[in-house]
Symmetry: C2
Subunit: 494 residues, 2 copies
């Protein structure tokens, strides 16, 4: 999983018209990350009810990734995106592992790497890698202390509305309505682009929408065919259109890459205020495809081939090394990333044989499955594992976290809905994928194993809970899970 | 809701080539009813994963009804289909109202009406209007005592496999595998058609699939992209193709009407063994659209216009009066039906202004909503009403039976997913639809009211439970339901 950085940046953007200096040769990066938006909740990903013409146009002009993975819950997903690594590898304050990580200040984040080669970076929107808190007990965890030159947004999610808004290191508003948040973020984003048009920039626009509580401005409220949830997404689509137009107005559209994606699957527990992962199985918090496979569109002006759809396995973790590569940045030799540089995918027809098609499905600290190419191996597990702290809370309504009796194998190429376990037919493939699991447990870790490659900077106990969990052998869990007799009927969660 | 029978049968089938006698002028009827198949689980209703070329071809050559309603659970749905009435109107043994009805032998069923004008009728498949029992304590409840000349099938569902198979009034097999049931039924159906090619017939083919336990024969097992559930449906599609080919081989395809539909929404509680109602809200047992709106295809050889899609409000209850009309049968003056004769819809372009677009959403004895045209009014209710006996059983996983705080209004034309309550914007429409509710409570009944039009033949107490429920005023329930404070976030079932 060590990445190799090359000079693909110059291949990709070598044809830019104003290629007069190393500085102008560096592309700008914009990541637009939505919150709890489902795989199906874009027109270009199959929604029959939500209209997203601006994003669909980006997809038509650029690249649509249909096997793009995030993590199954907000905080870990943002951790993976900003560090290029599985959250379980990433160091946390006090050496613990939280459902919502408190990322260690010593971790290297994407904007820090880009800063070395002249980029200015802004985080506009939701942060949420400081332990899901609304304040900063440790100021080292502020975005402005972790690589971003500018921050405007909220420390955590808007479960109970937006309680506090920061600009850089100061609270500038509290208890603002969720209805206007997308407009405010858009205005901030446009201003940042304007101010930085002459230098390379990285804009990380992390919307609060469509996480509940939902809101939309009066121009969008009541207008979609999918309720307030659809309104919120249609307003985000408007925002994407504004940003693209700004790039065109400034003449920098061909030197800017936009990545549009979501942080995890839809929050079905929120009923009509949640989205859809159709036709995938599962939702937010689960490691069925619907929990972690998210819509992804990558657009690069005239530099990306038009209308390509790629099913190659990719993830939010790939953005870190890919952007570093395109920017000509170098990474510390000591830094091991899980993401890989997918530049070759961007400049080809959407498929690159040099990339490893691998993804490990973690919930919190729990390794539940692995994908290798078209195959996915799902490990046995009890319904509500005691080592997933939120598993027993009814609020989560994680209905797809049902018990898994024995190892299950799915062919995601033929069976994207994970309906048919074919483990019995392919013992060789099960064996091969289980070896990958063993590798991951050894290198990254599992709920009861600290990975050799996991980063823990502080002295003292590492992962306080591990000792207790170690009393259970993974092998005994893999083999001895008993299910209710109704299991054979397909009944779940009994 | 009284129906008027005319001579539309001769309009519809007057152009038949062999129109030499009253007898041959009568069309044959085939109803193919599946069990727990979701709105989305046909290619022609949007499934991206289940292949149903034969049914899709029927739809392409005939009529696809997109607002066609059943009842939300098996037994009541079959009761409605066979009696042309809401189950709450229908008399039951011992004057009670069961979740799975035990239909009174004095009720008039569709085959009895058709018998009067020379039809021979067969029920092949699942019966389930005898109180969801595997045996017949009362032989009067056998299909052969209630109008069918022939029965081959199972008394109830296959929750735990197929325990017993009847031919007419005798058990001929027990504990047979579910894998071959679709093939066996198809063979029986083809034989019945063969034997009755010279006389008008009514074939009611009520598949056990795709209700769990699922099964498929070796030709179909493992072949679909939607697991065993998809295999089962693809085998049903094969069965439809066999039946259509038989009609063609016998030269009776232009005098036969095939109706293909499902008995209720998908049983999502069965996980990967359940189907999909996408993009509708809800599933089996709920009265959100996904629980009761089912796929429906009507095909009539060259007599039906090709490829028409109609969103007109129709239901399984309409088949009784429509078939009676087409067959030239007369109904007893004293019989009040809830279904209406939709022959005019079949012979027009899929829309008939003379039809009333009305549907009442009942679960068991509980009236929960009404649809009038494009509008649906949903009544307030607690999450698990004590008057729905199965509401508290965890097995049902009726996640969409959440509490409803106040009356909600949906525009199903603009908002098929029932995402946006617009009751506040349209008090006049709420008022109009609430008057329809009042009519239904008075005529058909509710959990605590016996409808004036409800049929109770036996002496003695009527609806034993009613007295207890009457202590609660409907008005007080309509107004005073309190929800968890998270409701405003869209969180449900807390």
């Amino acid at each position: 999983m060590r990445i190799v950085l090359g000079v693909l940046g110059t291949i990709f953007f070598g044809c830019l018209p104003n290629n007069t200096s190393a500085q102008t040769n560096k592309p700008n990066f914009i990541i637009i990350l939505t919150d709890d938006q489902g795989y199906n909740d874009l027109g270009s990903f199959g929604s029959p009810l939500i209209r997203t013409p601006n994003i669909d146009k980006l997809a038509k002009e650029g690249l649509r990734l249909t096997s793009f993975y995030a993590q199954p819950i907000c905080g870990p997903s943002r951790t993976a995106l900003l560090t290029g690594s599985y959250p379980l590898r990433v160091a946390e304050v006090n050496n613990t592992k939280r459902s919502h990580p408190m990322v260690h200040p010593d971790e290297i984040l994407l904007p820090e790497i880009l800063k070395e080669v002249g980029y200015r970076s802004a985080c506009i929107g939701k942060w949420d890698i400081n332990g899901h808190k609304q304040d900063f007990e440790q100021e080292e965890l502020l975005p402005t202390r972790m690589g971003f030159d500018y921050w405007f947004g909220t420390p955590s999610s808007n479960d109970r509305g937006i309680n506090v808004v920061y600009r850089n290191e100061k609270i500038i508003a509290s208890k603002i309505t969720v209805d206007t948040i997308t407009q405010i973020y858009t205005s901030e984003a446009l201003e940042f682009i304007d101010k930085n048009k002459a230098n390379p920039f990285f804009l990380y626009l992390a919307h609060n929408m469509p996480h509940t509580r939902l809101g939309a401005s009066k121009e969008f409220k009541g207008k979609s065919k999918f309720g307030l949830y659809g309104d919120a997404i249609e307003e985000i689509d408007w925002s994407v259109g504004e940003i693209k137009q700004k790039l065109i107005d400034l003449g920098i559209e061909d030197k800017t890459i936009i990545v549009f994606t979501s942080d995890n699957g839809p929050w079905r527990a929120r009923g009509t205020h949640g989205g859809s992962s159709f036709p995938l199985r599962g939702n937010k918090i689960s490691t069925w495809e619907g929990g972690v496979r998210v819509p992804c569109v990558i657009w690069g002006g005239d530099n990306l081939k038009s209308g390509i759809v790629s099913d190659q396995v990719t993830s939010t973790m790939d953005l870190f090394p890919t952007f570093a590569s395109l920017a000509g940045a170098s990474l510390p030799d000591t830094l091991t990333l899980d993401g890989q540089d997918i530049t070759s995918l961007l400049v080809t027809n959407g498929r690159s044989s040099e990339l490893e098609e691998l993804y490990y499905y973690y919930v919190d600290t729990h390794l539940q499955a692995v994908r290798s190419g078209e195959w996915k191996l799902v490990l046995p597990r009890p319904r509500a594992p005691e080592w997933i702290p939120f598993a027993k809370k009814s609020l989560w309504r994680h209905e797809d976290m049902e018990a898994v009796r024995a190892m299950e194998l799915y062919n995601l190429k033929n069976d994207v809905g994970e309906r048919r376990d074919v483990a019995q037919d392919h013992p060789d493939i099960v064996q091969r994928l289980y070896e990958l699991i063993t590798n991951a447990r050894s290198e990254i870790g599992d709920y009861n194993i600290i990975g050799q490659g996991a980063r823990f900077y502080d002295n003292g106990e590492r992962r306080p809970d591990v000792k207790n969990w170690q009393s259970k052998s993974i092998d005994s869990i893999d083999r001895n899970i008993k299910l209710h007799p109704f299991y054979n009927d397909g009944a779940r969660n009994l």
